[in-house]
């Protein structure tokens, strides 16, 4: 039953490409996004399809390295490689790229990317102090609104933004329900399956279609839970993965953890649980967007107490046995924050912690396996 659904998801993902093509043929637009901080509501409100472009595959890195330094985060290289080699259909579909000044590597890479496609950069504050930074951030969002209106020729009215917020709130709620499925002990889903579902539903042109599919998957999972149908035992170690975003192609750590006999049940990253926030529908829409997006607890913020709070909450809600903290090579912000995360996990939660620094290649698989197996022996 689960397998059938995953197949259906795959089919829908393939059909989705046609949907986007169709949408564009009619003269409509698509907007590429690279980071969770950029409010995709603006695209939806203007009748454009928001496409997540963050590079998660190893293949385009070689081309990227013809231009970019090797000693750079693989996510940045992969993203840029897809763009220069024109090998990502979603990049091709995008009429404009919305970027953010998050980490140094990304910010400077976007300057190079703007030679390939129009890039609009949002100046993201690096601190979540609302008194100082909410107003400028809200203005950035309003500027983006104008840019998108001019490009699409569609006015983003109050109604349109309100209903876009409502739609994406529903999508985020559905994703949260899906990710909460693995709170069941043992979980009916593998971490790899969860990564696949979250990744593939991210591209849907028709958001409602995606929500319906997620709901269908949730229903099946609930039946599996009721029937005790699970690949795991009651004492299978339950792992929380925190740190950098992952996706299909950059999921090797999840794979090795699960091959070694554990289950990754929770993802504290921007490809996982960080996506589950809700925009306050009772507030002025742009203020609500500015507040909520600025509150995302990513390591590019200084300080980033929100991540520790989220970890704390997730560790208890998901009955976590151990925490794996993933850093992409040359990602300074996550790499340094690992010191604080380790301290919190070891001292406050009294749980084993493993920090892994790696890239998208397979070359260190066996070295990672030793570390991960040794980590699981600690549980």
């Amino acid at each position: 039953m689960k397998q059938q659904l995953l197949k259906k998801l795959q089919q829908n993902a393939e059909l989705n490409i046609n949907d986007i093509e169709e949408h564009k043929r009619k003269g409509n637009h698509a907007i590429g996004f690279y980071c969770l901080y950029a409010p995709t509501e603006l695209a939806v409100a203007a009748g454009a399809i928001p496409l997540p472009l963050c590079g998660t595959r190893h293949d385009p890195i070689e081309v990227a390295e013809e231009t970019l330094p090797r000693n750079l985060c693989p996510l940045i290289k992969s993203s840029y490689g897809f763009a220069v080699s024109d090998t990502c259909p979603f990049f091709r579909f995008s009429d404009i790229i919305v970027a953010d000044t998050t980490c140094d590597g990304k910010k400077k890479m976007f300057e190079l990317m703007s030679d390939i496609k129009p890039v609009h950069v949002l100046q993201l504050p690096q601190q979540q102090n609302f008194d100082l930074f909410l107003e400028p951030w809200k203005n950035e969002i309003l500027n983006l609104k104008t840019v998108i209106e001019d490009m699409t020729g569609n006015q983003i009215t109050r109604e349109k933004i309100t209903s876009a917020i409502e739609l994406l709130n529903r999508e985020r709620k559905a994703k949260k329900r899906l990710m909460d499925i693995t709170k069941a002990t043992p979980s009916p889903l593998t971490g790899m399956e969860l990564v696949e579902i979250l990744f593939k539903t991210g591209f849907f042109a028709d958001k409602q279609k995606g929500i319906d599919l997620i709901d269908e998957i949730i229903d099946v999972c609930n039946t599996l839970i009721k029937n005790g149908d699970t690949p795991y035992k009651i004492d299978t170690p339950r792992i929380l993965l925190t740190g950098v975003p992952i996706g299909l192609g950059s999921d090797k750590v999840v794979k090795i953890i699960e091959e070694s006999g554990a289950n990754v049940v929770a993802f504290e990253n921007c490809s996982g649980y960080k996506q589950t926030f809700q925009i306050d529908e009772t507030k002025e829409p742009f203020l609500a967007l500015a507040e909520q997006y600025l509150s995302i607890p990513c390591s590019v913020m200084s300080p980033n107490q929100g991540r520790i709070d989220l970890l704390d909450e997730m560790i208890s809600q998901f009955s976590i046995d151990g925490v794996v903290d993933l850093t992409w090579q040359a990602c300074h912000t996550y790499n340094i924050e690992a010191v604080q995360v380790q301290k919190f996990v070891n001292d406050n939660c009294k749980l084993p912690y493993l920090h892994i620094e790696t890239d998208y290649s397979e070359s260190d698989t066996e070295q990672l396996r030793v570390r991960i197996e040794a980590f699981l022996e600690m549980i």
Partner: protein
């Protein structure tokens, strides 16, 4: 009951049997290009009731012999506690990697760190450098010991260190002092890893590099901590595996 532990490393394989809590037999071989073939030969004719494999070749051995395996982290931790029951810190410098393991007072691993990115900071590094300088690896430590002063080698990457050594030789630097510089480079890495993971108390030092007298002596000086070396230090992982085989039987995973 006799239990056996086999540690299949990248450079060498050690096999140990334990009978009534005491080591009854030790066998060693080079890994060569056929770790499983070598391992098979090594245990040929060996008497044991249970066997547990560890080291980088453990998974191949597991498939071949249908035995359980443990990581070298757990094996070294158990071995260290066998030789020095109260220890909380383990430093292992083997052929291909080095690691630091922190234990709690019941001998359980609570944190570890490994360096296996490159040969730097490992036995392999010293081996290659000894060759570059024309020394034998067995006496490399003694050569470093008789140097008159410390020399600093800045490159830790084997490739760069090799060219640095070549240019130092060309500059007419004393080979013993260069040898010492290379040892100090390995030590610096080990000490910073040790300080990061387990900053206090006596240290059990295992792995082939613990046979090197200069490294052991300087490690004690640099850390101001007691350095305890099992004899011989390279069998520590195999001893740990054999003990865990005895304690847990085949169901251990």
């Amino acid at each position: 009951m006799i239990s056996a532990g086999i540690d299949i490393g990248s450079r060498s394989i050690e096999c140990v049997t334990i009978k009534n809590g005491d080591i009854s037999e030790i066998r060693k071989a080079d890994t060569g290009f056929d770790p499983i073939g070598q391992a098979k030969q090594l245990i040929n004719g060996l008497k044991f009731d249970r066997i547990l494999a560890t080291g980088y070749g453990r998974n191949l051995f597991e498939i071949e012999h249908n035995t359980a395996t443990i990581t070298e982290i757990k094996a070294h931790a158990r071995g260290a506690v066998h030789f020095f029951p109260k220890v909380l810190s383990v430093l292992d410098i083997g052929g291909q990697d080095s690691k630091v393991i922190k234990l709690n007072d019941s001998g359980k691993v609570i944190q570890f760190e490994m360096n296996d990115r490159c040969a730097a900071g490992t036995g392999k590094f010293l081996e290659i450098m000894a060759k570059t300088l024309g020394f034998s690896i067995d006496t490399f430590g003694n050569e470093a010991m008789i140097a008159k002063k410390d020399l600093s080698i800045s490159s830790m990457c084997t490739v760069f260190a090799e060219s640095e050594v070549t240019s130092l030789v060309a500059k007419g630097e004393n080979p013993n002092e260069i040898a010492r510089g290379l040892h100090l480079a390995v030590l610096k890495r080990a000490v910073s890893m040790l300080n990061r993971v387990c900053p206090k108390g006596p240290v059990v030092f295992t792995g082939g590099v613990a046979n090197n007298p200069f490294i052991v002596e300087r490690l004690a000086q640099m850390t101001q901590r007691e350095i305890l070396v099992p004899q011989p230090p390279e069998i520590n992982g195999a001893v740990g595996a054999a003990l865990i085989a005895m304690e847990n039987g085949k169901q251990i995973k």
